[in-house]
Structures are given as C-alpha cells and as structure tokens.
C-alpha cells in the first residue's frame, strides 16, 4: 500500500530520546550546539515547513542535475562562453571564485548542524542542506573547469580561497565565522535566515535574470537551479529564530544585526559589481539598488517583523550606503584591478548617464572619479595599464577586511580606534560595533597592512600582488578594453 507523506513522515522526524548512559549536555555541548543552551523540551516543537522525504529529495535533485547537464551539453563548451561580452565574463569570474569553496564550507557547517542541532527534524533538514551545498560546490567547479585552458583567470574558481588575495582574506573572514566556526544556532540565523532568504536571492535569482537577458543560458540555469535548493533549506531559519527570540531575544537581534551587515558588504562587492558595472548596459533591466529594494528591503524586512525582531539600529546608515558603498568599492577596485583575478571596465558616457538616473542622490559626487580615470587614459593612450592604476598599498577594515570605502568621497567614515594597546581601523560604524561586541573573535586577525608592517608581506604593490596575493601577469585584472574605448577616442 502506498502511503502519503503526511501519513508516515512524523515517525521518521522525531527521534530524540532521553539519554541514560551519558548526559544531554555531553551529547550537545554548548560550544558545538550553540547558545543559549536549552533542554531538548525547548526545541521539541521544531518544525520544518518545507518537508521533503529522502526519496523525494534524490528524485527531485536528480531531475535538477539532469536539467542543468542538458543545458551544459548544449551551451556549456568554452566556445559558447567566448561569445559573451568580456565584462559579463568578468562577472562570471567574480561569482565563480567567491562561491564554490564557500559552499563547501557551508557543507561543513551544515554537517555540524546535522550532528549538534537540538532536534532530530532540524538535524535531518540540515543534512539535506549539507548535500545541497555540496551540489553548489561541485556544479560550478565541474562546469567551469574546461575554461581554464582558454582563460587562466578561471583558475581562481578553485584557487581563490587558497590564496592570500585581499578579497580572499575578506571572504574567508566572513565564511570562516559564518560556516566553518558557527554553531547550529548562529548558522541558522546567519545563513538560513539572513543569507538565503535575502541575499542569495539577490545573487542567484537577480543575477540569473540578468544572465537571461545577456543570453547566458548556462549561467542562468545553474544559478536558478541552485537557488531552488536554497529556497527549501532556508526554511530552517525562521523556525530556529522564533525559538531563539522566545528565550534570548537580545542574542537573536544581535546575530541578525551582525550578519545582515556582514552580508551586505560582501554582496555589495560581488553582486553590486556584476549588476551595475559588469553587465553590458543593453541587458540591464534594474539597478543593484532596485534589486536590493525588491529582494532585501521589502522581503527581508518583512520576515524580520514576522519573527518579532526589529530592524538593525544602523538601518539609516545602511539605507544611505545603498547609494554609495558599491560604487566607492568599484571605483577603488578599478584603479587597483591588478590585485584581483578578473577584469574591470570604465563606465562610458551612456553607462554614467544610466548610473546618474538610477542613483540621483550620489552619482554627481562619484562621477568626477570616472572623469579623472578617463582623463588618465586619454593622456596615456590604450594599453598603458599602470598609468590608471594605484601604486600605494591601501587600508583595510579591521572587521570586514575590505578596503576603507565607507561613506562618501567627501566624507569617508573610517575611524581609528585604540583598545587594549592596539590600533584598529573600521570602515564604518556598524563594523566597529560588531567588532566591539565580540573582540575576542576578531582582535587577533592581521589584515594586509598589519602583515606589511610586520614585514610578512611586501610593501611594494607589484611585489605584493605577485608574491603575496599569488597573481601572475596573465591572471591579474586589467581593463576589459585595455583602455581602448570608442568614446575615449575623440
């Protein structure tokens, strides 16, 4: 007799028992299971709304894999990628490097939850999450592998997290804390609640919509398929947050505040660059800010209210930074492009007009930087990369490890702080607040500047990116057009 899922599934979901030979705290120690430590009774009502059996899981996932495989067979050869605009390929390289090994760190984090989460149903859901994240590791690694021989920058798809590139240092700083070191409670807040219901939608659904418009079917299919997994296992989030709010509301709020800000900075770089600068203008449907409005402001803010939490105290700062932050970082990165593994582009007059229309509050203050960059290219002529490239090392935030791009060109919000005989610099007030809430987590980390001052990394920029960041000349980022833009010739 065939059974409906609702008829039998509870018999497989609820399998905690009362331990007789060891203590509950021995099986679920706080350092591995998370704070606050509560007896199982507090978690016994844990309920995953998006229920999937193992049989359904493997059937659905095999179908998804087959669908992606079919698209890969049709349009996944190197020559199919070569047809794309070089800017779009840069967006692909940025995504490809930052995601796959981070997804594997998520496998590790979810496996910890599959062992130490406090209810059996939660552990089972986390386990399927761990498998999902493995899929998101292997899919891009395999799909992009053959591109390495055509374009060495694609080697960073795997190498990025093994490198000392400054972006990798910043990315590891987030991913280590969020995934490799997190207990199941913090993992559920940071990834399932904040990351997967807000920001990954932005990257995976928003960017897949752009891939659709660009005509990159391979990337579109891969991103969308990955996000269908996230939509399922993200449902761990709200149910954990509700229990956390009921027992330790302040901790719930602090975790949400921390992770929202940390993710915002990361996605401003990864998604912000792709949407507002690396997607060819003709294929842009919405700006990064508009996607943020749809996916993060509307959707996430409502989810927060639903679990009984407040918007973070820094919300006005965040709203303001929507007009500035990723633009500040992009202009900075453009003029330090040899320190990264993908190419960058100067926005031309049409793009700047589009950016002005999309960002009326900030663009007039940002535009002079691009005027200056264009002026330098005109002076040197095409091909002279170093004439529009910085030569001095830059500062990095002691929390987010990203460049000091907070605030506006007129008023950078970086602040130097002395504590316990050491000096730190923060790009923004939220980064400082997060650091000061848990200094024991962050105080030991040495950013690139500290490594340079300690003599562990060279102060000479060219030497730094060669020997420390591990970039070779044929890999490091260049201007996508070598400075040879039609609008520059006049």
């Amino acid at each position: 007799m065939k059974l409906a899922r609702d008829d039998w599934f509870d018999l497989a979901r609820k399998l905690d028992w009362t331990y007789g030979y060891v203590g509950e705290r021995d099986v679920f120690p706080e350092e591995a299971s998370g704070a606050p430590w509560l007896p199982h009774d507090a978690w016994a009502g844990w309920n995953e709304p998006f229920r999937t059996t193992y049989a359904e899981y493997v059937a659905t996932q095999a179908q998804k894999e087959a669908a992606v495989h079919a698209v890969r067979e049709a349009v996944g050869r190197p020559e199919d990628f070569q047809r794309h605009d070089r800017r779009w390929l840069s967006a692909l390289k940025l995504h490809a490097a930052t995601l796959p090994l981070a997804e594997f760190a998520a496998t590790i984090g979810n496996l910890r939850a599959a062992r130490f989460a406090r209810d059996s149903a939660w552990r089972g859901t986390a386990l399927l999450g761990a498998l999902d994240e493995l899929r998101h590791t292997q899919l891009p690694l395999v799909a992009l592998h053959d591109l390495v021989k055509w374009d060495r920058q694609f080697d960073w798809t795997h190498r990025f997290y093994h490198s000392n590139d400054w972006v990798a240092i910043a990315a590891r700083h987030v991913m280590d804390e969020m995934l490799l070191a997190a207990d199941p409670i913090e993992l559920a807040v940071a990834t399932n609640f904040v990351f997967e219901t807000g920001f990954t939608n932005l990257q995976f659904v928003g960017l897949s919509a752009m891939a659709h418009d660009v005509g990159d079917r391979m990337f579109e299919t891969m991103l969308k398929s990955i996000q269908t997994d996230e939509a399922r296992h993200a449902q761990i989030g709200p149910t954990v947050v509700r229990t956390l709010v009921a027992h330790d509301r302040a901790r719930a709020q602090r975790l949400v505040d921390k992770w929202f800000w940390r993710h915002w900075l990361l996605f401003a770089v990864v998604t912000g660059f792709a949407m507002d600068y690396l997607t060819p203008l003709a294929h842009r449907r919405s700006s990064f800010k508009e996607f943020m409005q749809e996916w993060v402001l509307d959707q996430f803010a409502r989810s927060l209210a639903d679990v009984g939490l407040e918007l973070p105290a820094y919300w006005p700062t965040f709203l303001e930074s929507l007009d500035w932050y990723h633009h500040m970082v992009y202009a900075s990165a453009y003029t330090y492009r040899a320190t990264v593994w993908f190419d960058l582009a100067v926005p031309g007059p049409d793009e700047r007009a589009w950016l002005r229309a999309k960002y009326p509050a900030s663009w007039d203050a940002l535009d002079p930087v691009w005027e200056r960059v264009a002026e330098r290219w005109r002076e040197s002529g095409p091909g002279v990369e170093w004439y529009t490239h910085g030569t001095t090392p830059v500062g990095f935030c002691s929390l987010c490890q990203l460049v000091l791009c907070g605030g506006t060109p007129a008023r950078n919000t970086a602040q130097v702080v002395d504590r316990d005989g050491r000096r730190y610099i923060f790009c923004s007030e939220p980064c400082r607040t997060i650091f000061e809430a848990e200094p024991e987590r962050y105080a030991e980390h040495r950013d690139v500047v500290k490594q340079i001052l300690a003599g562990e990394a060279p102060a000479n920029l060219l030497e730094l990116l060669r020997t420390h960041f591990g970039l070779t000349q044929d890999e490091w980022g260049k201007d996508v057009a070598g400075g040879d833009y039609p609008w520059l010739r006049r």
């Binding site: 939509a231 449907r285 209210a305």
Partner: protein, 93 residues
C-alpha cells in the same frame, strides 16, 4: 504590496501553470514579470492547490518536489502538505 506573500517562479510552462492555479484560488493576485522569473504576490495569504495546478497542467503534480523544480524563492512562511501549499505571515506587519 507591503504584506504580499507568494512564490517566485521561473518563467517556464511549469511556472506559468502555478501562476494560473494561484489566480484561480486567490483574490488580489499581482504577478510581476521580471523576464527570467515571475514574482507572485497575494495580500496576506496565498494558497496553491494541487488539484488546481493539475487542472492547469493536465498531469499529476507532486508537492513539494514538482513545485521546488520551478520555484527559486518565495516570500512569507510556507506550509506544505500533500494537497496544498500556503504562504502567509504569522503576524500582521
């Protein structure tokens, strides 16, 4: 729509059939066409019945697996049984 809930669907035949089924059983349905995806928003509560989507598609449709294949995201808290999917907020916002 400040209190809107509902799925985000890929713009495929499957996704469009889900939209049709939601339109059949809900009022005030708004569908935003974003090219690669369709965002469905219904005020407060959105229901999707298996029977309705099977009518729209003309073939069996299993929850949640067949839905998962065409749904990269959604807004609201979801509850899934063998026969229906409901998106809703647990509090008024």
């Amino acid at each position: 729509m400040t209190d809107g809930v509902g799925p985000v669907l890929e713009a495929s035949d499957g996704g469009r059939a889900v939209v049709e089924a939601i339109r059949a059983d809900n009022t005030g349905v708004v569908v935003l066409d974003r090219g690669a995806y369709l965002r469905v928003l219904v005020p407060h509560r959105c229901i999707l019945r298996r029977a309705a989507i099977e009518r729209a598609l003309g073939r069996p449709f299993a929850f949640p697996s067949d839905l998962e294949l065409v749904m990269p995201a959604f807004q609201g808290n979801v509850t899934i049984t063998d026969d229906e999917v409901v998106w809703a907020w647990s509090s008024s916002g």
